[in-house]
């Protein structure tokens, strides 16, 4: 089969590799019909994860048709059309039993690597480095899906791939970020980052009853998309002297009730602190650039909530902890418990409450993956979300 492989920093190759096999009786094999490139794939693309190996198959946002099933699989049948959550969960451990699927203790065969680094054995992820299990990803014609009775969600007839594909990651991720905001009637939610997760967070904040949603970014296409498709207010931080002040202007002088950091550790930002962060990261004095996180803390109203779906992996410094304490902020963050949200969000899509497919800007074949990664990374050509159709 054809598969999109990591060959080194900013080096993607499409290779012909053996078709996947069932390795455990709880596995299924999918023929992939749609797969997307995620912003977090760019962390790998840009060489931020030292446990990637040459030849690793990428991709954690995918769906397809079940073509083979293991002998112990009960819930899924051959021929089912399923969307697969990006994180792999066993369904049996303490964390899975509490719907805290991203903490799964049994899905990562290399759990000792994150345990040695962070003190806990993070769960497995598809196509996302050896510290998260080294599982082959779904940017391929076929993919092996372990714990098939736990993760994959069967899609009813009549739905297109584009409508439901983002149940695999960014829609639940944005939704959990919004849910973490504890939205009450009349609330204003500000979302830093209007990329795919920022879009889904803004959409979800509206779905959960926020009266006013503000999107903050510097990429005009993203802001225009949020404004026209979701009806959010927008702030372009490149054209705004003081984002915190701008947000106060829009919220009666107090600041938003909740602020979402949908940017994470590779923030660009502007100003002196952004330059400081970039320099320190290059010198490896800190692993993450917390430019967005600082702004989020400064922007949030006293007593408000900071919600962080943007990915952080290491240590940061110069955090305005005194401001956070003084305001009495609540912090909520973490890897998405995707399985917890998928069926609820599918219902919203089926009912027509939302249609996440609006974020797709580019459709390419697997063969064009290298070009698509480069274009997405450089945000060229209005590139916001790339979907590949391996079966087409």
């Amino acid at each position: 089969m054809k598969a999109v492989c990591f060959s080194g920093t900013r080096d993607i190759t499409v290779e012909t590799v053996p078709d996947p096999q069932l390795l455990l009786p709880t596995d299924v094999i999918l023929r992939v019909t749609s797969t997307a490139i995620c912003c977090s794939d760019l962390h790998l693309y840009n060489g931020y994860n030292p446990t990637m190996k040459e030849g690793d198959i990428l991709g954690h946002e995918f769906m397809g048709e079940v073509v083979e099933i293991g002998s112990e699989v009960k819930r899924i049948r051959r021929g089912d059309r399923v969307v697969v959550p990006f994180n792999i969960a066993c369904g049996s451990c303490y964390f899975c039993s509490r719907d805290e699927y991203s903490g799964c203790e049994n899905s990562n065969p290399n759990g000792m690597i994150p345990a040695a680094v962070n003190g806990y054995p993070a769960g497995g992820l598809f196509g996302y480095s050896h510290m998260y299990g080294g599982y082959a990803g779904g940017q391929a014609e076929y993919v092996r899906v372990p714990f098939a009775d736990v993760g994959p969600l069967v899609i009813p007839d009549g739905m297109t791939d584009d409508q439901v594909l983002f149940l695999s990651d960014i829609f639940p991720t944005g939704y959990m970020a919004a849910e973490n905001c504890n939205i009450r009637p009349g609330a204003t939610v500000a979302v830093f980052g209007a990329g795919p997760v920022g879009q889904m967070a803004a959409l979800s904040a509206k779905l959960l009853g926020a009266e006013q949603v503000i999107s903050i970014d510097s990429v005009t296409e993203r802001l225009a998309m949020a404004e026209t498709r979701l009806g959010t207010l927008t702030v372009n931080y490149d054209q705004t002297e003081d984002v915190t002040e701008a947000l106060k202007e829009m919220t009666g002088g107090r600041g938003p009730d909740a602020v979402i950091d949908a940017v994470g550790m590779e923030a660009h930002g502007s100003g002196a602190m952004a330059l400081y962060d970039r320099a320190k990261q290059v010198l490896r004095l800190q692993t993450d650039r917390p430019t967005a996180l600082r702004q989020v803390i400064e922007a949030c109203r006293p007593g408000g909530t900071v919600s962080i779906p943007g990915v952080y992996t290491g240590v940061i410094d110069k955090m305005p902890m005194g401001v956070a304490f003084g305001k009495g902020l609540t912090f909520k963050m973490g890897q998405t418990h995707t399985q917890k949200y998928m069926s609820t969000l599918l219902e919203h899509i089926v009912r027509g409450d939302v249609d996440p497919s609006y974020i797709i800007t580019h459709r390419v074949s697997l063969d064009d993956a290298a070009h698509a990664y480069a274009e997405f990374n450089d945000k060229q050509d209005g590139c916001i979300k790339v979907v590949m159709k391996p079966a087409a």
């Binding site: 598969a3 996947p20 096999q21 455990l24 931020y48 030292p50 049996s92 049994n106």
Partner: protein
């Protein structure tokens, strides 16, 4: 000056506590069937049982190491323990206890292993036997034990497809630009 032989020895002790969502009796029975231990203790190649005694073959960097052991405690479902018999290169013991966890959360299992290191051979033999870190070896065994008991299988990617160079061992870890950790 006559050569002085120091006869001191030191005991290296490693322990791990874990809560596993299965009844104590099931955990105990899995440990009691010593021949199954290599399923989740990757450094153990084989264990053959003969009544209260057992013969252990353990992988090490310098070739296999073998010893005989005997059960010292066998109280279902609370505790199982063993110790190596006279003649083992590194005398060692194992002790596993099982207690009901709070609020029906399964069973608290504590595994304790000791290695009696005669002075002088300490570094070399210990490294041969346990790799760099006996604690890490035990932690991994407990992690795999949990997978086996809670899901019925040990999660794996062995045998999956990948691109790049042919054999896994040849596949280089990518050069990191920004350190992840």
């Amino acid at each position: 000056m006559a050569e002085e032989v120091i006869e001191e020895s030191s005991v290296r002790r490693v322990t791990r506590l874990a809560t596993i969502r299965r009844p104590a009796s099931e955990l105990f029975d899995t440990w009691r069937e010593l021949s199954r231990l290599p399923t989740f203790m990757r450094h153990v190649k084989s264990i053959h049982e003969n009544g209260n005694r057992s013969h252990w073959v353990v992988r090490s960097h310098g070739g296999d190491v073998e010893w005989d052991a005997e059960l010292t405690i066998n109280v279902r479902p609370n505790r199982i323990a063993w110790r190596s018999l006279e003649g083992a290169d590194i005398p060692n013991t194992g002790d596993v206890t099982f207690q009901p966890a709070l609020q029906g959360r399964g069973t608290e299992m504590r595994v304790t292993l000791t290695y009696d290191q005669p002075a002088g051979v300490l570094g070399e033999l210990m490294a041969r036997l346990t790799g760099d870190d006996p604690q890490k070896q035990l932690d991994e065994s407990v992690m795999l034990f949990r997978m086996l008991l809670e899901t019925g299988h040990i999660a794996t990617t062995d045998g999956q497809s990948h691109g790049g160079p042919e054999r896994d061992s040849d596949r280089p870890v990518a050069q990191a630009e920004g350190a992840h950790t």
